[in-house]
């Protein structure tokens, strides 16, 4: 009365897959031989595009095949300039497909940016959309971040727009190290301090400090925030420390780090940051406290005891130099 369902067994499925693989390998070899012989005889035509396209969607990392496509496009530009647009949109579709298959393929991303250089008008909205989709799937894909930087440059998108993009990514997930990295590149270019080009102006620095404090209080085990905070606070050279506003920033940060340390007495990141802040503010006066913290760090994070030991001896050495210069 009813059509009942019967399900294939795993063995049957595996057998089918093995056969498919063997078939694919034969097809791949045949296709490669044909492609190379066509190339040798100068047949850079629609057929070679079709064949290379088929192999590349299976394996986008064969750079020679991308090169053959590039040669074909260049030839088309010379022989059929009015048809270049069609060919270019074909390349954009193929690279997008390959990126979907392997979002980390250097070759697909490079081919796409090469293609953009071959046309006078680029639909940048489409390119940004592709990046958005790709970063939605993997917010740390550095190929995609790099590609975004390329199209930002080509489209002359404002740095402010990019800063806002980075802020939105961080609002979504503040553990996005790639986005903090992007800020570290953008901020000094948009808001340089009048005295020192390598650091931020006072107001922006205060805003960033607040942002990062929210991150470290929400999750003090997230390393992205700590790396960024270290850069934010300690990027300036010794001279800038004489600048009183920076010193008061460091003191504020020390106070909040110590609050956090009280709440999270076993957290290595906050211990290390308290150490570094004490060292910057008054390394000599705080030596005992610093060395105590370093002993605790070795206990809570034994994997890096070599680093902490070095840090301790480095600070002692710094202090000795200071003592000598003060006495002389």
């Amino acid at each position: 009365m009813h059509g009942r369902l019967k399900v294939r067994t795993t063995a049957e499925q595996q057998e089918i897959k093995a056969k498919e693989r063997a078939k694919k390998l034969v097809m791949y070899k045949t296709a490669m031989n044909l492609i190379f012989s066509k190339r040798k005889s100068g047949e850079l035509d629609d057929e070679i595009l079709k064949m290379t396209g088929q192999v590349l969607t299976e394996n986008p990392d064969i750079s020679t095949l991308w090169n053959i496509r590039k040669e074909t496009i260049l030839k088309t530009k010379e022989t059929m300039p009015d048809r270049v647009d069609d060919y270019v949109s074909n390349e954009l579709a193929l690279t997008e497909q390959c990126i979907r298959v392997n979002p980390k393929s250097y070759n697909s991303w490079f081919h796409r940016s090469w293609i953009l250089d071959q046309v006078s008008i680029v639909d940048f909205k489409n390119e940004f959309l592709l990046c958005d989709k790709c970063l939605e799937l993997d917010e740390r894909n550095f190929h995609c971040w790099d590609y975004r930087r390329i199209i930002v440059q080509k489209s002359k998108t404002s740095l402010e727009n990019e800063l806002e993009f980075s802020t939105n990514k961080i609002k979504k997930n503040f553990s996005n190290y790639s986005s903090w990295h992007y800020r570290s590149e953008l901020l000094p270019r948009i808001y340089p301090s009048s005295s020192d080009q390598s650091i931020l102006d006072d107001q922006k620095l205060a805003e960033e400090c607040n942002l990062i404090q929210n991150a470290i209080f929400t999750d003090p085990n997230d390393q992205s925030a700590w790396f960024y905070q270290r850069w934010l606070l300690f990027n300036s050279d010794e001279k800038s420390l004489k600048n009183s506003s920076l010193l008061s920033t460091l003191n504020n940060e020390l106070e909040s780090c110590q609050q956090l340390h009280d709440l999270e007495p076993d957290n290595k990141w906050v211990k290390l940051q308290v150490c570094e802040l004490l060292r910057r503010i008054n390394g000599l006066g705080n030596e005992t406290e610093i060395l105590q913290l370093i002993q605790q760090l070795i206990k809570v994070d034994p994997l890096r005891q070599g680093y902490y030991t070095y840090l301790g001896s480095k600070i002692v050495e710094e202090n000795q130099k200071k003592k000598i210069s003060e006495s002389s």
Binding site: H2, F174, F217, T218
Partner: protein, 533 residues
């Protein structure tokens, strides 16, 4: 049709509520012959979702059922089914708008007026609302799904999820009695990071409590003292006060100060684990209403050979000489089965345990700026039970554009009207307000109050092969029902998988002609579809 009902079958299910439908689909899925009957003319029993017109019909039908008494043979006796007419009671419907606008009813269009300040404003009349009857989906028992809860897992693993669509609840609020306003609850790590309502120290404390609770099982030594007390004591011990305490009690743990520690922790774990799977809050809402879910399971059962009969009254359950149930009398037909499952509210051996007070409002404006599905957990005020509000916009397919469906749910103390009066007065207005547009409360266009009984049955009072399944309760999600359905299934078929994955289409080999099967399936689809319409 009558002749098509297979008898004897493996499992006879009476009532198409959620638990019954899950068990039916699980049994069909493993090849058991299931017959599923319901005396109603719609699927879903007390879980159903209705359009405006269907709601009116059903509330009418419920009043007029008659009891039947059946002759029995010597060696058997019968449990009579008094088709329970009183599960939904104290029904009070009220309109807050008139029906004077003749012009609008003629052209069947929304009337849009230009107000003084130039904002476009829709004015609704009763007949306009009723013209859109089919665009309304009113749930008798609206419930949410935890994104990592039992219901979602079973929908995914069984593949039944493809029969329904879901939307993430966009935000959760609690009530701030200090500032007398709704307070957004930061759900995810990102929300806590972005929150402007709490200090950095509070952020740390909130995160700490959440991660402690998530790790509860792995680090039991941390909790030895906490386990003794209630949730309030636990929060005291960790110095949790103010807004963070509110978030945790009202919304994350869905608890009270007096809730025992373990129960609160379990809820917190579920909440935290469910965040981020589909969106920023842990909850999903079923598009077109919660009543879709029992239908999805029925459809799955039908695809795997379950036989469905609506409008079939079960008059009695027949018990054999050995004390086991042998079958039922269904419209003068004796249907035999190895196992029988009946919904509590139809089971004469079940007793009323407690009740739920419900209100459904149609309003003209959202309570918050979030134009999606919003959950509001009101704490218990003045010694009253906590109230849960679910506000649904047109994007959830609950109502036409420009209107909102608001569900209010609380435990029954007196009647729905009394239990919910204070909350409704606080948030909604019964008349059109002349105050500043931005300040005034949403106006109620229509309201329906009712109570639903909760039943309780005791397995030891029933024959071993007769099971009774619980109807909707006041909990916010479906997970207890999924667990109960699984337990019933496992007790019937101890060695079988509960709703294993539905095979991929390419792995299905059709026995018999493909055409026949497709036809069969499409007929079944149509049947479910028609009832839904």
């Amino acid at each position: 049709m009558t002749d098509d009902i297979p008898s004897p079958c493996d499992l006879l299910v009476i009532g198409t509520g959620l638990t019954e439908s899950i068990v039916a689909s699980a049994a069909s899925r493993i090849g058991k012959q299931v017959v599923h009957v319901d005396h109603r003319d719609f699927y879903g029993s007390n879980w159903a979702t209705f359009s405006f017109n269907n709601l009116h019909n059903v509330l009418g039908v419920n009043k007029g059922l008659t009891e039947c008494i059946e002759e029995t043979k010597k060696e058997t006796y019968s449990i009579h089914i008094g088709l329970n007419s009183n599960t939904v009671l104290n029904v009070v419907e009220k309109w807050f708008i008139s029906d004077e606008d003749v012009e609008a009813t003629i052209d069947n269009q929304l009337r849009i007026e230009e107000t003084n300040n130039g904002i476009l404003k829709q004015t609704w009349t009763k007949s306009e609302v009723l013209k859109h009857s089919r665009k309304f989906n009113f749930d008798l028992s609206p419930k949410l799904l935890y994104s990592k809860g039992e219901m979602v897992e079973v929908l995914i693993s069984s593949g039944i999820c493809r029969y329904a669509e879901f939307k993430n609840v966009s935000s959760i609020y609690t009530y701030d009695n200090v500032e007398s306003g709704l307070l957004p609850v930061p759900c995810s790590r990102a929300d806590i990071f972005n929150s402007k309502d709490i200090t950095m120290i509070e952020k740390r404390l909130l995160m700490k409590i959440l991660s402690m609770c998530v790790e509860y099982e792995t680090k039991p030594e941390k909790f030895q003292e906490d386990e003794m007390g209630n949730f309030g004591n636990f929060l005291d011990a960790h110095k949790i006060q103010g807004k963070v305490r509110k978030y945790l009690i009202d919304s994350v743990a869905m608890a009270k100060e007096s809730t025992n520690f373990q129960d609160a922790v379990k809820n917190i774990q579920k909440f935290v684990r469910s965040i981020g799977r589909y969106g920023n809050t842990p909850f999903l809402w079923t598009l077109y209403g919660s009543g879709e879910l029992p239908q999805c399971f029925c459809r799955c059962s039908a695809v795997f050979g379950g036989v469905y009969c609506l409008k079939r009254s079960t008059r009695s359950i027949i018990i054999g000489s050995d004390g086991q149930a042998t079958g039922i009398m269904c419209d003068n037909q004796n249907l035999k089965a190895k196992f029988i499952l009946i919904e509590d509210s139809l089971n004469p051996l079940a007793t009323i345990k407690s009740g739920i007070s419900r209100a459904i409002l149609v309003t003209n404006k959202a309570l918050t700026s979030n134009d999606q599905a919003v959950l509001i957990n009101l704490p218990s005020l003045n010694g009253k039970e906590p109230v849960r509000i679910l506000e649904l916009s047109a994007s959830t397919m609950a109502c036409p554009q420009g209107l909102y469906v608001v569900h209010l749910i609380t435990r029954q103390v007196t009647t729905a009207i009394e239990d919910l009066r204070e909350v409704i007065d606080t948030f909604f207005s019964a008349v059109e307000s002349n105050e500043n547009e931005a300040l005034h409360k949403p106006q109620i266009i229509w309201s329906l109050h009712f109570n639903i009984n909760e039943y309780e049955s005791y397995a030891d009072m029933l024959p071993l092969n007769l099971y009774s399944s619980p109807g909707p309760n006041s909990s916010m999600d479906f997970d207890n029902h999924v667990i109960q359905a699984r337990n019933i299934f496992k007790s019937m078929f101890p060695d079988e998988d509960f709703l294993p994955r539905v095979p991929d289409p390419e792995d299905v080999i059709l026995e018999g002609s493909a055409e026949e099967v497709v036809l069969q399936e499409s007929l079944e689809n149509q049947e479910v579809h028609n009832v839904h319409e």
